[in-house]
Symmetry: C2
Subunit: 101 residues, 2 copies
DNA sequence: CTCCCGATGTTGTATTGCGATATTGGTTTT
DNA sequence: AAAACCAATATCGCAATACAACATCGGGAG
């Protein structure tokens, strides 16, 4: 599926949402998104996670699971604040885009 | 307002939505978006419109209004299709992000 | 000890984003 | 009628992002 420029923001908000509920890690996110019809290559996903961490939206911590290192991310206060903002943006889009038809 | 990376997609869908209803032009879009709390500099807006035209989401036509040249854009079939997709994405986000709380 | 698998990481290139600046043509001011 | 101003679109230059392909790394299976 193309048209990524329109939907990448949605994807990131998905990530924030899940990271606000419980710790999440890379591959898990990939699968989650796939269930929603998005596909994200590692070359997009990991740099994005790193950036979101660096910018303070996510906080990451490495854990060893089955001997393998996984990096779990949680939404920070700032990340949750963006989520909150997004609720408003989504409501507006809902009102406009979803209504009638 | 920062955090643009999360919301630019929303902005573009806004543009598509309005361009699907009636012809729109640059400055008008700027004002429209401002009313929704988004701000978009010309250096972002115009290249974005050009690109969306080039990629076939929008169709532009220049008109002279009060002696000034304006470029009006309408959503193409492809643009409307993206809008349609976005309805689904929004529904999912609504289900996840907006529900509970 | 070799191969595969789950995960994360990196590289190189192309695309996008954006503030600042320019352009174009008409209107108002004096 | 020149100067200053305004609406609107366009471009420049640089920084930030996106992405596919490729690389790495440790454990477990055979």
């Amino acid at each position: 599926m193309f048209d990524r420029e329109f939907f990448l923001g949605f994807v990131k908000i998905h990530i924030l949402y899940h990271a606000a509920k419980e710790p999440v890690f890379g591959v898990e996110i990939t699968h989650e998104l796939a269930r929603h019809g998005y596909s994200l290559s590692p070359g997009t996903l990991y740099p994005t996670l790193h950036r979101m961490e660096k910018e303070g939206y996510l906080a990451g911590s490495s854990k060893v699971v089955n001997g393998r290192v996984r990096k779990y991310y949680r939404a920070t206060a700032k990340g949750k604040q963006v989520l909150e903002q997004s609720r408003n943006s989504i409501r507006e889009l809902v009102a406009e885009v979803l209504e009638e038809k």
